[in-house]
Every structure is written in C-alpha cells, then in structure tokens.
C-alpha cells in the first residue's frame, strides 16, 4: 500500500499522460458514435423525400464534453475514488474532511430541530421536511431488515400500509386516540412481519425478494378488495388529526392556541407534525443503535455475514430472522400510522410497489447498515427530487446521472463502511469490501 502511494506520487508525469490518453480514447469513441447520431440530421422532406444536413457544431460540443468529462472523472476518482484506487488527497484537505465528517451528525440534528423555526412561514418547506423525515424513518426501519440482517425485502410498503390502515380503522370505527393507536399499529405491523417471515424463512436472495414483493402486492390487493372493512379503492377518509396528548390543535376554545392565549394558526399543526415525525424517527434510530450493540443485533449482522456459521454457534436463525422482520415492520407500522394522521385520508394508491422500491433505494444508496447514510440518502432522494422539480422532464435525467456517479464512486452506498459494535482498544471502522451484503 505504502509502495503504491509513493509510486503514484513519483509517477505524476506518466499519470497525466495516462489521463490524457484515456480522455482521447473516450473522445474518439464518442466521435464515432455521435458522428451519425448527432452529426447528421435526417428528416422527411415536404414530398416525402429524404432531406439531411450536418450539425458539426453540436458534434464538436458533444465530443468536447466527453473529453473534458473524462478528465474530470479521472481526477475525481483519484480524489474520492473507489476503495481500491490510490488516493492523492492532500493532508490538509483530509483534515478538513475528517472534521466535517465528525461535525456532520450534530450539525444535521441541530439544523433539523431548527427547521420549523427558520422556515416557519414557508409551508412548502415544512411539508417537504415532514415528507423527508417520513422516508428517513422508513429507511431506518428497513435498514434493520436489509442493512443489518441482510434479508432483501421488496415488500416493505405492506407494513407501512398495515400501520396506516390500523390507525385509520381503529380511529374512525372505535374513536381511539392517536397515542393509543400508535403502539397498536406498530404491534399489528410486527405481527404481519412475523406472518411474512414464516413462509420465507427457507428462501434466500432472489427468491426471498420475489416472495416479499408478492407479499406487498397481496396486502394492497386485499385492501382494495375487502371493501366492507377498508372502503376499497375509495380509501378511508375523515381520519382524526393527532392531538397534543389530548389537546386538539384546532381554532376552538379548547384548542392549544386558545389555552396558550395565542392566535390560532394552521401552521401550529404542521410544526407539531414535524416534531412528531422527528421524534418517531429519532426513536427508531435510538432503538436500532441500541439493538446493534445487543446480542440480537450482533446475531443479525452475523446472519448477514454467514448463516451456516451462525447455526454452528448455536444461534437459532429462525427466531433471529423473525425478530428482524418484526422489528423492521414495527417501525414501518409507526410510520404508517403517522402517515394516516397527517393525510387525514388514505387509499391503496399510496401503498404501491413504487414506495417499496424508493425506500429500498434509500437504504442501498445510503449504505446498508449505516444510519447516517440512510438519512442522507433520504434527504437526497426525496429532497433532491423536489429541488429539481423546476427542471421538469430533466429531473429524471439528473437523478439517473447522480445514481450512475454514485455507483462508480460508492458501489457500497454513500457510507459503506461498518463501525464495530464493541472494541477493546481501538474503534476502527471496517472497510466496505469486507462487509457482506447478505444473501437472503
């Protein structure tokens, strides 16, 4: 490794030649490809005959972009590149990075707490914040199943739906309050997690993914077709809004605003919802961090690393898998109950496969098993997606491009390394290429 680094330093000259050569080759390939695709434009003329003209300016621009882009890519690779390349980041920059890395979590947390204060008048930002936090919570919940236990779950939205419908139906039919329904929604979702867990215990990898995918669809189809209970495609409306431990957030005389003697504003409820989902997400985070350091969490990670070795050590892999499914599902259920109370209306359309895929993408892009990575990925995926809304149809392009870049530089997700759960002397992170992804 040391030899490699010194080699890279001394070999600056040939290095530049290599980068240039690579760029020239890329540009040549681009020239050949684009010469017909972009260089020549053909169209049907007025009488149906072929008319064509050349666009050498566009062609030159494209080739120049590829040439420049190749150089920039190669230089960036050397800076943050994948784990196997030699990095030539100067020590001063390294120091800044490491400080930024340590300050990131507290800074993010403080900023999140202050969001309703800073953006009090901007309803759009608050709503977006709530949406992002909902996905952060879902990501953290799924992280238990996919990131820690290594069980690929493509039907996570099922538990989100179970939680949402549990609250909606219990509240509208029996008038139970949000704070009673919240744990019930979690328990019911966990129960469904175990229910899904049993049939898939023997499955691995692709097969597990397919069955969980089907499970998500089954739940959605049951909701659509069991009209007497769930209202079918019409959904459930009139779901009660949450109260602040019994004090409603309404303009009435018994509302919070009247009690505090301040003027009523609909923003109060939004701010309350923001802190509610923040609290739920932080609870998820706290529990997950604690569980990782308990025997059950270590067993989950060991299961991801090597299931056969687990059984040889006397670990009951059946119950270990089921607890992972149940724990992840429970957090999904909490998030679902929150979703129902925020929307006031739910229908099966909110629980399509698209949601499962989005949450899974957040976990995988964030770095499986990393709490911070998942939070950042949720922010980028949900927040970033909204940010580029002005770009209309180009936002999918930006999104796709960002994903390709991420796969090049961070194939194991934003934060792919793993922090040990216990240590004797040194708390050193474990490089991402040693950590397994699990295989079912």
């Amino acid at each position: 490794m040391a030899a490699n680094a010194s080699q890279a330093k001394t070999a600056r000259g040939p290095d530049a030649a290599f980068i240039l050569k690579k760029a020239v080759i890329s540009a040549l390939v681009a020239l050949v490809l684009f010469s017909l695709m972009i260089g020549i434009r053909t169209e049907a003329g007025s009488d149906g005959q072929l008319t064509w003209w050349t666009r050498f300016g566009d062609l030159a621009a494209m080739v120049a972009v590829v040439f420049g882009g190749s150089i920039v890519m190669e230089l960036l690779r050397r800076w943050w590149g994948p784990v196997d390349t030699v990095r030539v980041v100067p020590p001063s920059a390294q120091k800044v990075f490491s400080f930024a890395g340590r300050a990131l979590v507290p800074a993010l947390l403080i900023f999140t707490f202050l969001v309703p204060v800073i953006f009090y008048d901007e309803r759009y930002i608050l709503d977006l914040g709530i949406l992002v936090l909902t996905y952060v919570m879902l990501g953290w919940g799924l992280n238990v199943v996919v990131g820690l236990a290594g069980l690929l779950d493509l039907g996570y939205v099922a538990f989100y739906a179970v939680g949402a419908y549990s609250y909606a139906l219990l509240a509208t039919n029996f008038g139970l309050s949000f704070w009673i329904c919240l744990p019930l929604a979690g328990i019911l979702a966990a129960f469904f997690g175990v229910l899904l867990g049993f049939p898939v215990l023997r499955l691995r990898g692709d097969y597990l993914a397919i069955v969980t995918l089907a499970f998500g669809e089954i739940i959605r189809l049951v909701i659509i077709n069991w009209q007497t209970l769930t209202g079918g495609p019409n959904g459930v409306s009139g779901i009660p809004r949450p109260t602040m431990f019994g004090i409603p957030l309404t303009p009435g005389d018994d509302g919070l605003a009247a009690l505090l003697g301040i003027e009523f504003s609909p923003t109060h409820r939004i701010v309350f919802l923001f802190y509610l989902i923040l609290a739920l997400a932080l609870l998820t985070n706290w529990v997950t961090i604690r569980l990782r350091r308990l025997p059950i969490g270590r067993a989950w990670e060991a299961l991801r690393e090597d299931e056969v070795a687990c059984r040889a050590l006397g670990i009951n892999t059946t119950t270990t898998k089921l607890t992972a499914f149940a724990t992840g599902a429970m957090f999904g259920g909490f998030a679902g109950a929150f979703f129902a109370t925020r929307q006031g209306f739910i229908s099966p359309e909110s629980f399509t496969f698209h949601e499962s895929a989005l949450v899974l993408a957040i976990v995988v892009l964030g770095g499986m098993g990393s709490q911070l990575g998942v939070a950042l990925a949720a922010l980028a995926m949900i927040g970033g997606f909204e940010l580029f809304r002005g770009l209309e149809q180009f936002r999918m392009l930006v999104f796709g491009g960002a994903m390709v870049l991420l796969m090049i530089w961070r194939p194991r997700g934003l934060i792919g390394h793993r922090a040990p759960t216990v240590f004797l002397e040194r708390n050193t992170v474990i490089s991402s290429d040693l950590v397994k992804e699990g295989h079912g």
């Binding site: 529990v287 604690r290 569980l291 308990l294 025997p295 059950i296 270590r298 067993a299 990670e301 060991a302 690393e305 090597d306 056969v308 070795a309 687990c310 059984r311 040889a312 050590l313 006397g314 670990i315 009951n316 892999t317 607890t323 793993r418 040990p420 759960t421 216990v422 240590f423 004797l424 002397e425 040194r426 708390n427 050193t428 474990i430 490089s431 040693l434 950590v435 397994k436």
Partner: protein, 276 residues
C-alpha cells in the same frame, strides 16, 4: 456406550441418492481425549462431521453424546440445538468467520445464547440494566482470554477478514471455544498452515485439552499434527472404518498404508512418518 466415552457413533449410514458416503460406521471418542478421523480424500470424514453437528440428517444410525448425566441423541436434534444444548462446537474446512466483524465481535457472537438470556431476550438489555452490563463485561473478558490464548489480543479490533490465513484458523477455533463446548469438532484445522503454524496449533489443541478438559474430534491430513497430538485414530476409506488404534498402531497398519497411497508402500510409509 462406555462410561468414559463422550461421543458414540453407532451404525451411521449416510446416502446421497445412490452414493453411500458413510456406510455402517461405528466409532467412539473418549472424554478429555483427542480423537482423530483420517482417511483419503472422499472417504466421508466431513460427512460424518456434518452428521454429528446436525448439518446433515443421517440416513440411519445413532449418534449419542454424553455430557455429565445428560445423554443426547444428536441425529434427532436441530443443528443450532446441538451447539446450544448438547455443547458440540465445530469449525469448518473452508474457514467460516464473520469477515466484516472484528475478531472480538466474532467471539461475542459465539456467546449469543448466554448474552441473550442475560439481556432478558433484548427487552432488559435495551434499557441497559446493570445485570446485562455485567454479563457483557464477562463475555468480553472470556473473549479477551481466548484472544490471548491464540496470540491475537493485539488484533482484537481488526476485521476478521483482514487477518492472515493462519490467524483466521486459530480465531475460528477460539470462536468455537467461546461457546464453552464439551466436544470440539475441528475440520482440517491445519490445512494451509506452514510447519511453524502447525506446531503452534498442536500446542493450542493440547492446551485446550489440558486446561479445559474439552474433548476434541479432529479431521486432518497433516500427519505431523495427527500423529503428534492424537490419543486415538480412526481411519476411514470409502465410508467404512478400516482401522483404529493409537498413532503407533496406525502407523504400522498395512491396510492404512495401502488405503492411503494405493500399493506404493514406500511412499505411504514416508507420509506416515510425517515427512509431508
């Protein structure tokens, strides 16, 4: 079953379709001794191991394990229960550590069942009750002890996947010992080790037997290990036992020599003398 035996395999047969991997095999392993299982490649040694540790369900036959007053029929137990209740631990021919976890974490996972009880099946541990913290500290101490025994204390916080091959082999043995087994089954622990590492392994196994009274069942090709530390050797060929006895008896047994290297006796004797 003799009172001194910890393990008794009786009429064990294992068929895979038409292939008979193990045929009516019977042998015993004495308590507190090192018993070796040797034989040419494909003789069925690992199959016997997989039957004992529950990874295969034998076609027929019984496997009894006596630990104190308890007697277990291993062929009827699930694989994880064999380790959890009957206290049989094993290592694998191709090392199966948890590569993305540190050496210390590997040893902590091995103490899962003890820690699970101490953490009140997670519920008490979640709130960090003192009794769980004490149990965790005890578990770390046990892990520290075993890391010290295998000379890996300095690398306790390194990922297991980053350790050199020989260290990984020893760590896997330490991990098995952290389950506090009565019988330790080692599948080719010396494979891929150099002469110095093999010697260190011998020392470690003799120490395990002396200090902890753990009985050891060993599959091995490296004769310098087998002949030096085994108290008793069983020789398998084509799934049947062809000889058993002390290392000296096995060394002189013409049947064994023939099985090992065909008819070329001189070469076979060279192997048995430990010149590999």
């Amino acid at each position: 079953m003799n009172i001194n035996d910890i393990l008794s395999v009786e009429n064990l047969t294992m068929r895979f379709g038409g292939i008979v991997a193990v045929n009516d095999l019977s042998f015993t392993a004495e308590r507190g001794k090192i018993t070796a299982l040797i034989g040419p490649n494909g003789a069925g040694k690992t199959t016997v191991f997989n039957c004992i540790t529950g990874f295969y369900k034998p076609t027929s036959g019984t496997i009894r394990l006596r630990n104190g007053d308890d007697e277990w029929r291993l062929e009827k137990l699930n694989d994880f229960r064999i380790s959890k209740i009957a206290k049989v631990a094993r290592t694998f021919q191709n090392i199966r550590l948890f590569p993305g976890m540190t050496a210390l974490e590997n040893l902590m996972v091995a103490q899962h069942n003890t820690l699970m009880r101490a953490s009140g099946f997670t519920f008490l541990g979640l709130f960090g009750v003192p009794s769980y913290r004490a149990a965790e500290k005890a578990a770390i101490d046990l892990a520290r002890y075993w890391l010290d025994q295998i000379d890996l204390l300095e690398r306790a916080d390194d990922a297991a996947g980053n350790l050199p091959y020989g260290d990984q082999r020893r760590l896997e043995i330490a991990r098995a010992m952290c389950t506090e087994p009565a019988l330790l089954c080692l599948d080719e622990p010396a494979a891929g080790l150099n002469a110095r590492e093999s010697a260190a392994l011998n020392e470690l196994l003799l120490k395990i037997r002396a200090d902890h009274g753990t009985s050891i069942l060993l599959i091995e090709h490296d004769m310098s290990v087998v002949m030096e530390i085994s108290d008793h050797i069983n020789v398998l060929d084509y799934g049947v036992q062809i000889a058993d006895g002390t290392p000296q008896e096995i060394r002189d047994n013409p049947k064994v020599i023939a099985a090992y290297l065909g008819a070329d006796e001189e070469e076979a004797i060279a192997v048995m003398e430990g010149e590999t």
